[in-house]
């Protein structure tokens, strides 16, 4: 057999490709560049349930599976791509509650506007006269840690009467709770209300409350927990099984906490100092500790979410004249800042920050702070450009 040059070349290419097979595979991104993934140390059984929940999170609801008929999105991952923050593409609207006396528009489709509809149906329209706010979904990582913080710890962080005169007066959101939730160990009750902590206004008690509500109000999916269809208002057979809801709640509880990047960079360290000096930490509390949790990896852990899970008055610029539960219209729950540096990777390469995504940069988000954060915002504007940049670099490292 006579080999030509091209034959030899072809065989050489073939051999090279085969022998370098492993090198041709895509390597995994660094763990701290991703929001998704489980907490380290889950048992095998817990990992199996985590995988089931992961599947439920990505499950696409079609018409046959119960989507709608009016809805906002057709899967959890639409609003939380990569377990991250939502975008204006899946912005949603809540309406009808102008004060703490309850929602006045529940009989007109409130509290959430389902502004999309399956073919043949008309989506909801905002009723005349209803106050409303636009919202984008928060990231879902590390929620199990937040869920496991004890009520007593949140009360210890609060200062509803601003007794230390620092201008910051966070308070826990005592709210009515649905009968299907299980109380946390050592729950603290006040006038028949319990401390809620999830959602932009902190109106959802726990992740089952939040998840069942999202299935129902975001996707039009009924469950054992939220059996009423948002279009007809009628009680319907569950369109998602209780097991699936439980798996999804477990998934949300056991998603890892976002990991820091470049935390030892000198600018990051300088920015962290500035963050403290500006009193940002008075609301964006750096460190919390969990209490007991039946999930061992969540029990009695120290973690760094940069939130106090309390309600704060954020001033007139962020007052949309809409509220939930017993929060005032200008009050918002302090959002965790962990993972904020990875937001762009879930938001199509852009920042959409604050409750409705109106801030297109970290700087813009800071400037929008008012109310209890007014002094911190003013102090920020008086920083040098270098110091401002160091603060931004620190936030991006979270």
């Amino acid at each position: 057999m006579k080999f030509t040059f091209s034959t030899v070349l072809g065989l050489a290419v073939l051999l090279t490709l085969i022998t370098s097979c492993e090198d041709t595979m895509v390597s995994a991104p660094n763990e701290n560049e991703l929001l998704d993934g489980p907490i380290e140390g889950l048992s095998t059984a817990e990992q199996i349930q985590f995988l089931s929940g992961d599947e439920a999170f990505g499950d696409v609801f079609t018409i046959e599976k119960g989507l709608g008929p009016v809805f906002v999105a057709n899967q959890c991952a639409s609003c939380h791509a990569g377990d991250g923050r939502g975008t204006p593409f899946v912005r949603f609207t809540r309406f009808g509650q102008p004060d703490i006396n309850g929602n006045q528009f529940l009989d007109q489709g409130g509290p959430q506007l389902q502004h999309k509809a399956i073919p043949g149906y008309q989506p909801e329209k905002l009723p005349p006269g209803a106050t409303f706010t636009d919202l984008i979904a928060p990231p879902v990582t590390g929620l199990g840690f937040l869920d496991a913080v004890s009520d007593a710890d949140l009360i210890a962080l609060s200062d509803p009467d601003d007794s230390n005169n620092d201008g910051i007066s966070g308070r826990p959101h005592y709210n009515n709770i649905p009968d299907y939730v299980s109380l946390r160990p050592n729950s603290i009750v006040q006038g028949g209300k319990y401390i809620s902590r999830f959602g932009k206004k902190g109106a959802a008690y726990d992740l089952l409350h939040q998840t069942s509500g999202a299935y129902n109000q975001d996707m039009g999916i009924t469950s054992l927990f939220e059996p009423h269809d948002p279009y007809s208002g009628l009680e319907e057979d569950p369109e998602v099984s209780t097991q699936t809801v439980n798996d999804l709640v477990f998934y949300l509880k056991t998603l890892k906490a976002p990991l820091r990047r470049n935390e030892n960079d000198p600018d990051v360290l300088a920015g962290e100092q500035i963050f403290t000096q500006l009193q940002c930490v008075s609301c964006h509390t750096a460190t919390l500790t969990t209490g007991y949790s039946p999930i061992a990896v969540l029990s009695n852990k120290t973690f760094h979410p940069y939130t106090d899970l309390l309600l704060h008055d954020m001033g007139p610029a962020l007052n949309d004249d809409y509220t939930e539960g017993f929060a005032e219209t200008a009050e918002w729950k302090t959002p965790p800042l962990w993972g904020i540096g990875l937001s762009k990777d879930a938001q199509g390469g852009n920042y959409f920050l604050m409750h409705d995504g109106r801030a297109l940069s970290l700087e813009a988000a800071i400037i929008l702070h008012g109310g209890e954060a007014q002094q911190s915002k003013t102090n920020y504007t008086q920083l040098s450009n270098t110091e401002q940049q160091q603060l931004i670099v620190f936030l991006e490292s979270l």
Partner: protein, 415 residues
Amino acid sequence: MKIFTFPNHKSWLFGLLLTIVIGAVSSAQEDIITKVEVDTSSSNLNMDAVYNRPFLALKNTPVALGGYLEANSIYSSEDGVSEGLSFQARRLTIFMSATISNRIKFLSEMEFEDGTKEIGIEFAALDVALHPALNFRGGIIMNPIGAFNQNHDGPKWEFVERPDVAVNLLPATWSNAGFGIYGKTHKNNWILGYEMYLTNGFDNNIINNEDNKTFLPAAKNNDERFEESNNGKALFTGKIAIKNRNLGEIGFSYMGGVYNKFEEDGLILDQKRRVDVFAIDLKTTLKKTGTYIVGEVVFIKVDVPETFTQQYGTKQFGAFVDVVQPILKRNILNWKNATLNLAARLDYVDWNIGTFNETNTDIGDQLWAITPAISFRPSSQTVFRLNYRYQLQKDILNNPAAKTTAWLFGFSTYF
């Protein structure tokens, strides 16, 4: 691929067909079998692909049998996470043809994908030749959109995977119950062919599916399309192909119609909504180098209700091009005219062209892939393929692309 299912008789049917094929081949004596080779004359167009296959014909009978088998191994990794090594029995396809009488013939193509997971009749049609320029075809036909849909036999391609535009944008293999006409004419070096069919068509699944995107292949899940139209409106598919024996072939095709169920029992459910597909396919061989080039471009327009989610796009685009360079053609290990090829494929698919209403930023949902390949053909009917695929896929939000790499090794052979 699920075209037509036999849920209760899969194993029975599979066994029967295998028995027929293997039995016929093994029991037949050489002197009663005629091997019908592929027609390699330059007068063939892409539309002739369904009949232009190797067959084994029993002498003195009007029946011919054929088919192909393809299998491969795959080792892939997405963003550093690998599912390990898998072996795939992709397809076993069996053709049966019969010349019923003068100018009347029949051909069927049955496919078993992934073992017996999906069984389908991809083609089963009666052809009546009235004139070279006018033939009637009816039954289960393959809609002539693009070129790959009709010319999809594994042994003809140097790549293990089918082109993305053909399987992830268009349905492959997309066939329906219907009727139509086709014909060819030629003058000197020029050949002109046409096809026109009315068939059953798409349904609401193309904008309501678990792929979470406008996805025409989702219509293949509707087994009932061989029994009745989803909405009582026919899908039109038409194609014109022009070939110059020295230059190559180009085809222009269109497929369109109302896809949604807009009425039931006299009650209006929705307005009529259309899907329109335009495709251009090209095939040529550079005489100087022997380089074979084939490609296809597809544009799709779908009427999606404005009140539905933008997750389901109204416009789609896709393309692929294969470049195949023979680098050795000679006798190897007693295989006459064995051929070694280097090849490369480029794939591009955009499932959702447009901008978000809320932000006016570009919608993502795109895929790019490049696949270098080496193929070895001991004969023209058998190909061994080694492919490496590098793929980038963006979600609808245009977040950083998921990177997938895969090694694929396999074979595809007519029998």
